[in-house]
Structures are given as structure tokens and as C-alpha cells.
Symmetry: C2
Subunit: 435 residues, 2 copies
């Protein structure tokens, strides 16, 4: 059979990985796909870099639009990233009748609705396994493997940089700032780490998973996003004493009232498998009503793990691209006319448990005042630690774990606790997910 | 669009689960599949049981062949189990042009080559996600999600009964026989538990995974199978002291010389995620050359988890059944003309590490004799524990962990060790997998 011709846009780390794996495993991949998959055109601003990867027979250009318009190309792989030119390129490829494979989570989370609508109009596939959790086939699991289920929630460690930092903070007892520097030195964090450490990258991925899990449009602008830069080592240590680990989770959860879509650090019971995912690894836990909990674990980034996902998409398209569009796997798991506009809930409506740490005066009646406020707010206490004040110290820490409550209710109670004379400064509040 | 009509053969636990989930999640499943999937015929020897599940509009019969021949049926779901009548029914369904979904690992491991050949001749799909690891979409991950990779090995906890027993033996320090009785009482083990505890069920599943991972025919008769019934608590305890857990693993591994296909208890480092899979849960670890290690975890059995996999296959077929047969996902991941007849190696050719426990006389020179034999056989020692003999005792245990060697080499060395006068009785030998 005629080979499938691929045009590659952007030949950085991942592009180089795609090139290397397609070449090294050409025999195995062809045996699976039923025909050869070959890169016949590469576009990169750095045309010398592109030439180094491409070798003699591949067309090399610095004009990516010439690839999206190239009539010899069957599939365009977009690895440029960002939401500016990448969007125009993907739309151009679609308009020219090309299937598209992309690893660009920001693009899909922000402009996915427009892109998938364009793809449907032109009857082409836009595949994006590499956009979430790198080499882990989580998109395929959610979209196909668990299609019998009403998905109840998805919770994932979907950013390797932050998981590396949290693992190091816990195991070495170091502060965030110190570990970030180490992560940058080791290449686990970028020079400007904002997107990772502030949770934006994880929120892009959680948004994509929410759409596939629940059959809703991408609603990135409604996601609640908190990163780990304000997390203190003392809370990691207290959490550990109580049998919990702190992980940055991307959570999408369906409730009667709407969808929770949120990224934030959370306490997770240390006995859970996902709590033991260490270093830069990723893992996604999916709760379905029939299957129960399933977990998917692997490398969430890096040249070859990401290339693994990109090439799996190329094989999928190659295997199926003659299927009539009515009988393909829908982009977002649900048939396009069956998406439902379920609202994303404001963060105040989140239903979860809380870890509360407060500095108090070591005097009689303090705990009674605090627990009275929580009881008035119908918030039950699940566990409590109060350290005895050191000799000569007049202050001590109280740590409380609560049962589930609505967040705005918890916040109101916390405000009342903070107004007590015996409570010093702010209450540190972290969410706790039993998973 | 016209609904897809499904005929269900066998309405036991899993059949009941398929009925229940298809009904409960009908809306969600239709939104994903693009058309209604409905069970229109049920065959079961117990016709009253079938009627109870089926309700008014479903055809009920005790003649399963009438369903495989029924011209109204699009897909036949085989949930009878075993390799006798189930084989005839699946072949009859195929001959009558029906797609087939089956959860029957024994059937596929033993007769899969014949069944898939028949399916290709008739251009129908035979789907079997439920045959391995219940609700975990591991077939899809291996066949599609990791298609870019040269799969190096697959190692799985793929039998819940034995994992439950091993978990209980470790956590409670009980003997195999005691825990088996408890497992039978709780419904985790059958009245005749042979297939589970002797590793046969796991070997069926490992055989299926080997075919998909490496593009080889099913070779169940070549699989090496050891169960857990002879495993002693003392070895679980010693393993734990050395930082390992003992798990029953199904392993398929590709080497230059051929394929290792084996089921046996093995020591696994306790720090590995898979070592922490407890109770009746399943998990499969897959090593790909591009993606690295990925892990898939969930419930490996039970009515609804298995139904989740069966229905995912129904949705897949519904989405794709108009695709021309040349452009479907191949049954065994590789195109049918691209399967390769790589031999399964005899167990003596296995390359792995070993845990050795031996009872010795507590006298000078014993350890020197033993380590000399290992050195002569080019077997390196990774760790050693020798307990001091109790007061008045003249015997003690030596435990050795070796580096990798070929099994027949290890066995020859063990025979020489057993022939030493200072070594009492047999050496206990367990394989150790670093994973």
C-alpha cells in the first residue's frame, strides 16, 4: 500500500523524538499500521536544525504553511506549541483536508472547540494523545477503553515538574525555592517555570480530560487554578504525620449541580497508589461507575515518551483514515451532536475535605472556640493534631482534617476562626481528596 | 441510525453485569457510540435465569446456536467460558458473519490462532478486551496506545485470587492453606481454585498479551506455569526483610533468542508501584523502548468491571464496523501477514535473578563452599542474609539474592549446593524480577 506522508511542524525535542522513533522502529510500526509512515516534509524556523534531523530525501522549509498546503502530505504533526501561530497552522492543515496530530494542550484547551468544529466540517481527524500525560495512552483509555462507564471523576498527576518538586520537598525536607533551583539545574523545570509551577499546564490537560470524560465543551477559562509555589514544607511534614502526601492534582468531577474543574495541591492518603507516584512521573486515576477506579502511570514528558503518543496517533489515523467520518471515534469521545453544555461550577461550590493549620495561643478554651465555629458551620472534624507548646513557648500549631463540605462554607468558617483573638495570623487551608 | 442488535450467550455474573450496565448507562453509551446498542437475544441453559434478566422484548432461548445464526443479530457476545462449546459457538457466529465479543481467555489462548484466522476469512471482528485484566483497557493500550514502541516486556498481576492470597499471607503472616480457605469463604476463590492458584488463568492472559505485544501466534502450550500453592510464608517474610514483595507475575519478554512466556511467583522490589498492588486488584506493567515503563491498574474481575470491557468492545465495533476490513485495528495488533513465528524459549533459557534459601549446618566453611560453587558458575551475589543460629541450635538459614543468570545454569549450581554435606534438604529457589 501507498505510504502515509507526514509533514512535521517544529523539530525541537519532541520532533526529534518522533523522527528517531519512526526511524528506529520503522519495521515494527509498518507491521502494525499496514503501511509505511514516513516524514516527507519538515518545517522549522531553524532550518539548519531541521536539516540535521531530516536527512536527504525530506523537504525542509522555514515556511510551515507550505507544509499545511502541500498536496503530497496526508497528516500534519504540529509540535510548535503555544496558541498563536500553531492555531493558524492547525486550521490551515484542516482547511486543506489534512488529518492533524498535535501535542499542544494549550491550543486544544483554549481553542479546541473551534478546531474540532473545523475538523468536523472538513471530515478530518485531529488526534492529541500526546497532549495529556505524554506517553500514557490516557486519551484512548477515556475515549474508548472506558466508553461503557459514566465517568464520575478524573484526578491526575499530570505535570512532571511539580511532582518532581513535591517529591524532593518531601523526601529531603527542603523548601520550594531550593528545590525549584535544583529542578532547573537538572532540566526538570524551565528557566521560566510559571506555567508548570502555577498549575496552568495541568489545567490545560485537566480541561481536555473533562471534555472527553463528560462530553462537554472545553472550558479552560472556567478552570480554577492554584500552583505549588506557596506550599510550605511544614504542611508536607504535617500531612505525612497524618498519613497523607501532598500532590498537585488536576481534577475533573461530575456532580448533580455541574462540573468541578480544578488544579491545586491536595492531600491524598499515602496508602493510595497515586500518592506513591514520585519524581517526574505522571499518573491519572479515573473513577467509572462500572469499572471502579483505574490508574494509568508512566512518563508524562520527554522526547521519546511524547513521540510514542504522537506516533500512536499516526498509526491510528493510518489504520482508520478510510473509515467514513460517521464511523470514526469522535474527537471528544461523544458524538459531536451529543455534547452537552454542562456548566463548570465556581470554586466556592466545590465539595471536598480540608486540611487546616493554624497558629494559636497556648491557653484554655482555644480549641473549644475553633471546634464550636466548625460545628456551627456543620463541618465535622475527621482528625486533629495539637502539638504541646515547647517549654517557655506560648504558641502552638493546631492541625485539623475536616469531612466534606462546600468550599464557601469552609471559607466562611475559616474567616470566623481567623477573627478569634487566640488565633494568630491566617489559617493555612489545603484541600484533601480521599480518591 | 439503526440500533446495533446484540445476542448474549451465557447470562451468569458477567452477563448480568453487561445487561445492567447497558441499561443503566444507555444514554451515555449511545451518545458515545452514535447509535443504540441493545441486547435483543439471550441464550442460557437456565432459561428462567435468562428470562429474569431479559425482560419482555428480548428473545430468550436455551439454544445458543439459534442466536449465532439469527439474521437480526449484529454482534454475538460469548460469556459461556471454557474451550468446548464456546469454541463452536464463536466459530458459528463468525461463519454467520457476526462480529464477536468474548471474555474467554482460555478459548483465545488455546484456540485463538484458529479463531482469528476464521474471523479474517469472514471479515468480522473478534474483540476481547475483557479477556485480560477485566476492566483495565490493557488490550487497547498494547494494541493501539503503544503502537510506536518495540515492546520489550510485559509483566502483570493478572489474577486477583492469587494476589488476594499473597496480600493476606504477607499482611497477616498466615500460611497459604489458611488464606485459601478465607478467600473461598469471601468469594475471592472458587470451590475448585486450581486454575487460579496453579497459574493457569494467568498463563492464558499472559499468552494473549505476548501475541499482541510481539506479533507472534498464541503459544499457550509453550508457556511455563507455576502457581503459588507451594509458596511458604517464611519466604514472604525473608523477602520483605530484603525489601521485596512476592507477587504471582505473568511475564512475556522478548529476547534476541526468542520469547520468554512464564507465570510464577517472583520477588519484586517493594518500592515499585506494582509491588504495592494489593488484594484482588490487577496491574500490568509494560516496558516499551520509546515510552519506557507504563502501568495499568484496576479491577481484574467482577460483574461490572468485566462488563465495562465487554461494552467498550461493543462500542468499538459499533463505531467502526463499517470500516473496510483492511483498515481496522488488527486483532493481534500486527497485520495478519506480518505475524512472526518467534519461538517461545524453554524455561531453562530464562534470564533472571534468583532468591535462594537454604538450611545449613552452623559450622565454619559452609558459606565459602556455597559461594565458591556460585562463583564457579559465574553467578554473582547481590545480597546475603545469614541468621545467627539460636543458642543450642546447630542449623541456620542462609538467604542469597543473585544477579541475572540463565536458569539452567542456576539450577546446575543449586544441584551442586544441595549435594554439599553441610546443606540440609532442598534449596528453595524463587525468581526475582527488578522490573
Amino acid at each position: 500500500m501507498k505510504p502515509i506522508n507526514v509533514g512535521l511542524l517544529g523539530i525541537g525535542t519532541v520532533g526529534g523524538g518522533v523522527f528517531a522513533v519512526l526511524k528506529r522502529n520503522a519495521d515494527e510500526i509498518t507491521r502494525r499500521a499496514g503501511r509505511e509512515i514516513r516524514i516527507t516534509a519538515v518545517a522549522d524556523k531553524d532550518i539548519e536544525r531541521a536539516r540535521r534531523h531530516a536527512g536527504g530525501t525530506v523537504k525542509v522549509t522555514d515556511d510551515a504553511f507550505s507544509v499545511t498546503r502541500d498536496s503530497d502530505i496526508d497528516i500534519v504533526v504540529e509540535l510548535i506549541g503555544g496558541t498563536a501561530v500553531a492555531k493558524d497552522l492547525v486550521l490551515s492543515a484542516i482547511e486543506n483536508g489534512k488529518h492533524v496530530v498535535t501535542a499542544n494542550k494549550a491550543l486544544l484547551a483554549v481553542h479546541g472547540n473551534e478546531i474540532f468544529a473545523a475538523a468536523r466540517r472538513r471530515d478530518v481527524m485531529v488526534a492529541f494523545e500526546a497532549a495529556v500525560a505524554g506517553g500514557i495512552p490516557i486519551i484512548k483509555a477515556l475515549r474508548e477503553g472506558l466508553s461503557a462507564n459514566r465517568i464520575e471523576w478524573v484526578a491526575g498527576i499530570i505535570n512532571g515538574t511539580t511532582n518532581f518538586i513535591l517529591s524532593e520537598m518531601r523526601s529531603k525536607g527542603l523548601a520550594f525555592g531550593e528545590v525549584l533551583k535544583e529542578a532547573q539545574r537538572l532540566g526538570y523545570a524551565e528557566a521560566d517555570p510559571t506555567f508548570d509551577i502555577e498549575g496552568v499546564d495541568a489545567a490545560h490537560k485537566a480541561t481536555i480530560m473533562s471534555a472527553i470524560a463528560f462530553g462537554i465543551p472545553m472550558q479552560f477559562d472556567k478552570a480554577h487554578i492554584e500552583g505549588i509555589s506557596k506550599l510550605e514544607s511544614v504542611d508536607i511534614a504535617y500531612a505525612e504525620q497524618l498519613g497523607y502526601r501532598i500532590k498537585l492534582l488536576g481534577i475533573a468531577r461530575k456532580r448533580q449541580e455541574g462540573i468541578e474543574l480544578r488544579v491545586h495541591p491536595a492531600l491524598v492518603p499515602a496508602s493510595r497508589l497515586i500518592a506513591n507516584v514520585e519524581g517526574a512521573m505522571n499518573a491519572v486515576l479515573v473513577q467509572g461507575d462500572a469499572v471502579g477506579a483505574t490508574l494509568y502511570y508512566g512518563k508524562g514528558a520527554g522526547a521519546e515518551p511524547t513521540a510514542s503518543a504522537v506516533i500512536a496517533d499516526l498509526v491510528d489515523i493510518t489504520r482508520l483514515h478510510t473509515a467514513d467520518p460517521e464511523h470514526r471515534v469522535p474527537h471528544l469521545a461523544f458524538q459531536p451532536d451529543q455534547m452537552r453544555d454542562v456548566p463548570v461550577l465556581p470554586i466556592g461550590e466545590t465539595l471536598t475535605s480540608y486540611y487546616l493549620r493554624m497558629r494559636v495561643l497556648d491557653q484554655p478554651g482555644v480549641l473549644a472556640d475553633i471546634t464550636r465555629i466548625l460545628a456551627d458551620s456543620q463541618i465535622s472534624i475527621d482528625a486533629m493534631v495539637q502539638h504541646e507548646a515547647d517549654e517557655g513557648e506560648s504558641q502552638t500549631d493546631i492541625i485539623l482534617l475536616t469531612h466534606q463540605t462546600i468550599e464557601k462554607n469552609a471559607d466562611a468558617a475559616i474567616a470566623r476562626i481567623e477573627s478569634l483573638d487566640s488565633v494568630l495570623g491566617k489559617v493555612t487551608r489545603l484541600r484533601l481528596e480521599e480518591l
